[in-house]
């Protein structure tokens, strides 16, 4: 049996293409296949370190931390086999608060550091915590290449559309015209849409969720952890000090139902307070547009579709300024062999073909001569 087939078979145990995807469905956990489990009961406290949490009161980061600490016990993993790696920024303090192994690294580099760790230690559950400046500005290159390689890890991208730790400059996800300390007359740049970016970078798992929606956040994180390969989860996170209310229209009870699109696997894409809107494709242009929900040609969401066209189209519905019509949920979840698995297979294949390395033979080589 060839190595690739083995990998594919492994990658497919548990999650099969075409199967409905949601956290409530038991989809197996291929992403955690090689991570030792524990029978010992765990609770949130076990995952809480003794460090005082130092985010600003009211920061959206608290809710994400609580969700992660609350949901990790459900995975039943040996705590010592979990590692959180972060870059620099407010959210990157995250590892200090987790009672697991952790590394608070340097600005933008967490995906690269985690790549070395995950590729050489398949028995670890590796998590990257990053922000919009960390992942999309200084670390943009590492992010896209981690996604392309499909290293087995989960990236939590806290997007607050602002630089918090450096006290309020515009970020690569800030809306154009943003007035900040560094842009008193408004920012000049178009923002990144992190989901579109990830899809363009060949990501195999892309999702978006919101800090304040704990149930949704938890379900997306479970699916991300279960996925084998790089999972990117964009989390809309409120920075109440420097960019308060950035996601208000998606959170406020009065507005959210009109502007938030909840993606459900296998369901037509509908939204609106009365479910009165739907997303369809224009037959002529192929473009994605919003129309009435009773349109017979509504697109049916399928995150497992190998073709990313629809996922990308859905990601473009959001208004780049206001974020109105932002879809949340899992955009894409497809199987592709993980980088570390392929790397390990090449090592196994080399040994299978020629046996374990013999240092003495290596040093001697084939062209020697003897003196004396």
């Amino acid at each position: 049996m060839s190595g690739a087939a083995t990998s594919e078979e492994r990658a497919r145990t548990g999650a099969r293409a075409g199967q409905p995807v949601s956290a409530s469905t038991d989809i197996g956990m291929p992403g955690l296949r090689d991570v030792p489990a524990t029978d010992a009961p765990q609770n949130k406290k076990d995952f809480t370190s003794d460090q005082e949490v130092r985010w600003c009161p009211g920061c959206g980061d608290y809710a994400v931390l609580a969700s992660v600490q609350g949901f990790l016990p459900d995975l039943g993993l040996a705590r010592e086999n979990i590692v959180f790696v972060s870059g620099i920024g407010c959210s990157s303090r995250f590892p200090y608060y987790m009672n697991t192994y952790g590394m608070h690294s340097i600005h933008g580099r967490a995906p690269a550091i985690a790549t070395g760790l995950a590729a050489s230690r398949p028995d670890l559950s590796v998590w990257v915590v990053t922000g919009d400046g960390d992942a999309l500005s200084i670390g943009g290159n590492h992010l896209i290449h981690a996604l392309r390689r499909n290293v087995n890890m989960t990236i939590l991208l806290f997007n607050n559309r602002i630089y918090g730790l450096t006290k309020g400059q515009y970020s690569p996800t800030s809306e154009q015209g943003k007035v900040t300390k560094s842009t008193p007359m408004g920012s000049l740049e178009s923002p990144f849409n992190p989901v579109s970016l990830a899809l363009g970078a060949e990501a195999t798992f892309v999702a978006r969720t919101i800090d304040s929606d704990r149930a949704h956040l938890t379900s997306v994180l479970s699916a991300a952890a279960a996925h084998r390969g790089t999972s990117l989860v964009e989390i809309y996170q409120n920075c109440n000090i420097f960019n308060d209310g950035a996601f208000e229209i998606l959170k406020n009870e009065d507005s959210r139902d009109e502007v938030l699109i909840r993606l459900e696997q296998g369901e037509p894409v509908r939204f609106g307070a009365e479910g009165q809107y739907g997303v369809r494709r224009d037959p002529a242009s192929g473009g994605f547009e919003v129309g009435p929900s009773d349109d017979p040609n509504l697109v049916v969401h399928d995150a497992t579709d190998d073709d990313p066209t629809q996922a990308f189209g859905l990601s473009r519905l959001a208004d780049p300024g206001t974020l109105a019509r932002s879809p949340i949920g899992i955009f894409r979840q497809v199987d592709r062999p993980a980088y570390g698995d392929l790397m390990a297979e090449q090592l196994d294949e080399a040994v299978a073909a020629k046996g374990d390395g013999d240092l003495g033979a290596l040093l001697r080589g084939s062209d020697t001569w003897t003196v004396g």
Binding site: N81, M98, H104, L363
Partner: protein, 622 residues
């Protein structure tokens, strides 16, 4: 057939020169391999342009390979060629200036058209205008004879003429009595499946040999007897290969899986290529998206308990600086290999220099001490790699291993070590809590920065070890507990502790001074790849009747404990460097000794003759 005269000589310097596309590096490599298995001592200097195919027939496109071989131990690839093989006018013009009077030139006349001469910058034909009268010139229509010899193979003219390097190799092999069997085997392997090309190349090689044997133009063969090297088994090895093997050996000796994170860069890429071949040894190689990711992934692997290594050259070192700083703060093992090249900026990618010393020592923010080890010869790259890993693992620190373009591509015979004699390296992973909380009877906590009192190294607890979960990061840490601390006194203590740990690295041998007469007043001190040229120059000066002391630094940080004492015990200290005086600056600052600098940054190693003159001038002025 004429009976050929055989003349015995003790050493030869030969240089093959041609267009970048003429296969001069391969020709040189093969002649080196034949010479190595014959048992001569040797040293090589490949010299090629950064462009893969610079315009054919022009001076910038000339690629050369110089080999020095002898019946005694030699230290350098030789100052000036005794024999030049020039494949076209540009190769002749680019190299003729380096030849001493009386040198032999074998030149391919096929390309001496007025157009080609003009392209090379010749106003008149040097083969006819008497400008080469000081040399023994053999004009051979190498291309023409090769093509004629290959008619039976039905190759196009272009294909056939491509084998002219094998013809030249055959001819030179005949001149020096080298066997061509190894090259025949090599060609058989290289062109397996392309029978016609294989057979044509072998035929060209044999035709070259036979040409020497039969033509009257070559009346003399030379014999260079094997060198009396210490007994043992030898092979020829380049610095990049020796360094790669050193890493594999160090991984084995430490029991750590090797993880290489690297981004292609000249002249370091061959280490990435080499290590990629050795997956059977559990070696993981990661070609990263950039230099920063390359070292980041290596550091991530180290955090997970691997031997993290990253390889690069000067510009890459600049990009990796921030991550080296993180590794200093995390106190994790990591080896950064800097194969130095001409700088600044892109500089001269394929040429050698040793101007990164201050960069690797001081090119980071904050007090960021990093041990530095420098290899002194191609084969020494093996031992230097093991030493770098020993320090990194024992002291939980990033270590810089310095090589350079000359060591990377140059080669020499290597006395192959017995693997049983290689030093053991003990990672000593932490497995237990190490700190007793107030009131507890036995240690129940793990403090990631509780240091070994002897080495000041912190415990290395890898993920997967239950009970030792901990967080590390680039923010200053509380001494011992390792939690975040902005306390002024703690920062001062941590800065000094990190420095003291590096300053206190044990196992660094004293600086060994070679002073055969014991009465030298002048010490010549070097570091890195100048070892060979300095050694050869000192020999010359001693032969001229001078007492000279010589010493060479392998550890640039920390330096051997007796360094200051050695420096102060000579009337004068001469420090030759291929930079503008970087080691000299350090020695002056640290030891208050007014050393004399001698500096050249030409992208080429020092010549022994030039250095010998400088040494004798210094001695003369004492």
């Amino acid at each position: 057939m004429t009976v050929k005269q055989v003349r015995e000589i003790d050493r030869v310097v030969i240089r093959f020169a041609g267009d970048s596309g003429d296969g001069m590096q391969l020709t040189g490599d093969r002649f080196t391999a034949e010479t190595a298995s014959f048992g001569n001592d040797l040293s090589t200097l490949p010299n090629f342009p950064a462009e893969i195919r610079a315009p054919a027939g022009t001076m910038p496109g000339v690629s050369s390979f110089q080999l020095h071989f002898a019946n005694y131990d030699i230290l350098t690839p030789g100052d000036a060629p005794d024999v030049l093989v020039a494949m076209n006018p540009a190769a002749l013009r680019a190299n003729a200036g380096d030849l001493p009077k009386g040198a032999t030139i074998i030149v391919d006349t096929a390309d001496f058209t007025s157009r080609a001469l003009k392209k090379a910058g010749y106003e008149s034909n040097p083969l006819e205008d008497g400008s080469l009268s000081a040399y023994k010139v053999h004009t051979v229509d190498l291309s023409g004879i090769t093509m004629e010899a290959l008619t039976p193979f039905g190759l196009s003219r272009k294909e056939a003429s491509r084998s002219k390097n094998m013809f030249a190799l055959g001819l030179v092999s005949w001149m020096y009595g080298r066997s061509i069997d190894g090259t025949v085997n090599f060609l058989e392997e290289k062109f397996a499946g392309k029978e016609n090309i294989r057979d044509a190349n072998i035929a060209a090689l044999r035709a070259g040999w036979n040409y020497g044997e039969t033509t009257e133009d070559f009346a003399v063969r030379y014999e260079v007897k094997p060198a009396a090297l210490p007994s043992g088994t030898y092979r020829n090895i380049t610095g990049n290969l020796a360094l790669s093997y050193g890493m594999i050996a160090a991984a084995k000796q430490s029991g750590l899986p090797l993880f290489l994170g690297s981004y292609p860069i000249t002249p370091a890429s061959d280490i990435l290529h080499e290590l990629s071949k050795h997956k059977r040894f559990g070696v993981r190689t990661f070609q990263a998206e950039d230099e920063v990711a390359a070292i980041g992934a290596a550091l991530g692997a180290s955090f997970g308990g691997a031997l993290g290594v990253t390889t690069t050259s000067g510009p890459g070192v600049a990009l990796k600086g921030e991550t080296v700083g993180l590794a200093v703060s995390l106190e994790l093992p990591l080896v950064l290999v800097d194969v130095q090249r001409g700088g600044p900026s892109t500089g001269m990618p394929t040429k050698t220099e040793q101007a990164d010393l201050l960069q690797v020592l001081y090119g980071r923010n904050g007090e960021s001490p990093v041990p530095v080890v420098a290899a002194s010869s191609p084969s020494d790259c093996f031992d230097a790699a093991i030493e770098a890993v020993r320090i990194a693992v024992t002291y939980r620190t990033p270590v810089v291993l310095l090589s350079d373009g000359y060591l990377a591509n140059g080669s020499e015979p290597w006395h192959i070590p017995d693997v049983d004699t290689l030093p053991a390296i003990a990672p000593g992973f932490a497995t237990e809590p190490n700190h007793q909380a107030d009131g507890d009877e036995k240690p129940a906590e793990f403090w990631p920065y509780l240091r070994d009192p002897q080495t000041l190294a912190r415990p290395w607890a890898v993920p997967g070890t239950a009970g030792l979960e901990h967080r590390v990061g680039g923010i200053e840490k509380l001494d011992g507990a390792g939690s975040i601390s902005y306390d002024p006194a703690n920062h001062d203590r941590m800065v000094r502790l990190r420095q003291a740990k590096v300053d206190g690295i044990a196992g660094i041998p004293d600086l060994d001074v070679d002073d055969p007469n014991g009465d030298a007043q002048l010490l010549v001190l070097g570091w890195g790849s100048t070892y060979g040229p300095i050694g050869a120059a000192v020999r010359r000066a001693r032969r001229a009747g001078h007492s000279i002391a010589q010493a060479h630094l392998r550890h640039l940080n920390p330096m051997p404990a007796n360094t200051g004492e050695v420096l102060r015990s000579y009337d004068r200290v001469l420090v030759p460097e291929m930079n503008l005086g970087q080691l000299a600056l350090l020695l002056r600052g640290r030891y208050l000794v007014d050393v004399v600098s001698y500096n050249r940054v030409r992208g080429l190693p020092f010549k022994a003759e030039e250095l010998a003159d400088v040494i004798m001038e210094e001695v003369g002025s004492l």
